[in-house]
Subunit: 233 residues, 2 copies
């Protein structure tokens, strides 16, 4: 490759990376807005989250197209190829995380439109804070090729899963004690489920970051193995 072609190739790779980080920033703000809207009953904010899911989808299509073009025209190898394949995989998870934010917003709209202001004090807010932090950290890990940070997210996901089980138990208890809370509790259950899924996607993305950096596929290999890979950085 000539120097010129090389520089252009680098520019294209950098454009994909930064586009993906922008997409991640949008999804992060979508989740935050959906959770804020749930907390404050801000219907306008919730409508905006639903409307902006289209922007998330557009990012997905554009990033995939850019990756396909680079793969077809530049025929990258080694680290560059791994980065592109990682982005192709990560973008699917990021789009799904955006979908979950939209689902939370839809569910929150229903809750507030039905005038259900008196929500059970379940651990949903804590789950929301955890998964938002995990998603941000997944993006940082990707941006900085930081597999220690990635391993941490995988560890945090265990905590979120435990919180999710706690929310289920708590909501079932509410429903049994006061069957008038059933509809409301089911709505909150779906919101908690969406948060749990976002945590999962953050974890999946971090496993892909480890692959991108180390060339080692750590999916399905357990937390200990991922932490070993991170330690041997």
């Amino acid at each position: 490759m000539t120097d010129h072609t090389n520089r252009q190739f680098d520019t294209e790779l950098e454009a994909v990376r930064s586009r993906f980080l922008q997409m991640g920033g949008l999804v992060e703000s979508q989740i935050a807005a959906a959770v804020d809207g749930l907390a404050n009953g801000d219907l306008e904010l919730l409508e905006r989250v639903v409307a902006r899911d289209d922007e998330v989808n557009t990012y997905e299509l554009e990033i995939d197209q850019a990756c396909n073009h680079i793969l077809a025209r530049r025929q990258p190898t080694a680290g560059d190829l791994r980065m592109l394949i990682t982005v192709v995989k990560m973008v699917t998870h990021m789009e799904r995380a955006g979908d979950e934010a939209e689902k939370i917003a839809q569910q929150a709209k229903r809750i507030h439109e039905a005038g259900r202001r008196n929500m059970p004090a379940v651990e949903i807010w804590h789950m929301a804070a955890s998964v938002t932090a995990m998603l941000r950290q997944a993006l940082d890990a990707f941006a900085r090729l930081d597999i220690q940070a990635a391993a941490q997210v995988v560890r945090q996901d265990k905590g979120v899963d435990a919180e999710w089980q706690g929310v289920i138990r708590q909501l079932v208890t509410y429903m049994i004690e006061d069957p008038r809370t059933i509809s409301r509790s089911i709505e909150l259950l779906f919101i908690a489920k969406a948060l749990e899924r976002i945590g999962d996607h953050a974890k999946n993305m971090c496993e892909l970051v480890v692959y991108m950096v180390k060339g080692q596929d750590v999916r399905h290999t357990g937390l200990e193995n991922i932490e070993r890979e991170a330690a041997s950085n």
Copy 2:
């Protein structure tokens, strides 16, 4: 490329295709077994589904690795590149569909271990039949490059989503009428949710099949557009 390299390349592509179809066959049988186990309380069968999820995961890793190798060494273009990128994307959905089968089996185990034989007659069996058929058809569409079949699956997913909404309403009614059914109903709700997700993954895979065959990304473009692409075959 020499004839020999060409033949070897074709063999490699064919191996990826057939490995993916095998993985799909396994996931299909996992879903069927999980649903059978739920219906008949066959705990041994349910245990087997849980145990075999590892095989699904192994397929995912192997197929991704094979695709990466081909991309790195053969630098495919046009249709071959599209096929590989499609498989890289589809395999993520297939693995998730396998995860949902495992979740159904886990939930079914809990239901039967708690001796809850008297299950509400919700539309779960019909949903199960629908999504199993959709997954099989998604695999056929991939194998035969049949975008009419792919478009049909996308259409069927709307029906599954409607069934899912019906199951929620039905279970909420049960719970309100008889709060003793709350725990059991929540378990069934999660099973129905897993089935709905499998339908979604089948739909997502079919959108990717359309891309593979037509080179046109139809994700997020609506059913009408997908049917138009299929009609212009």
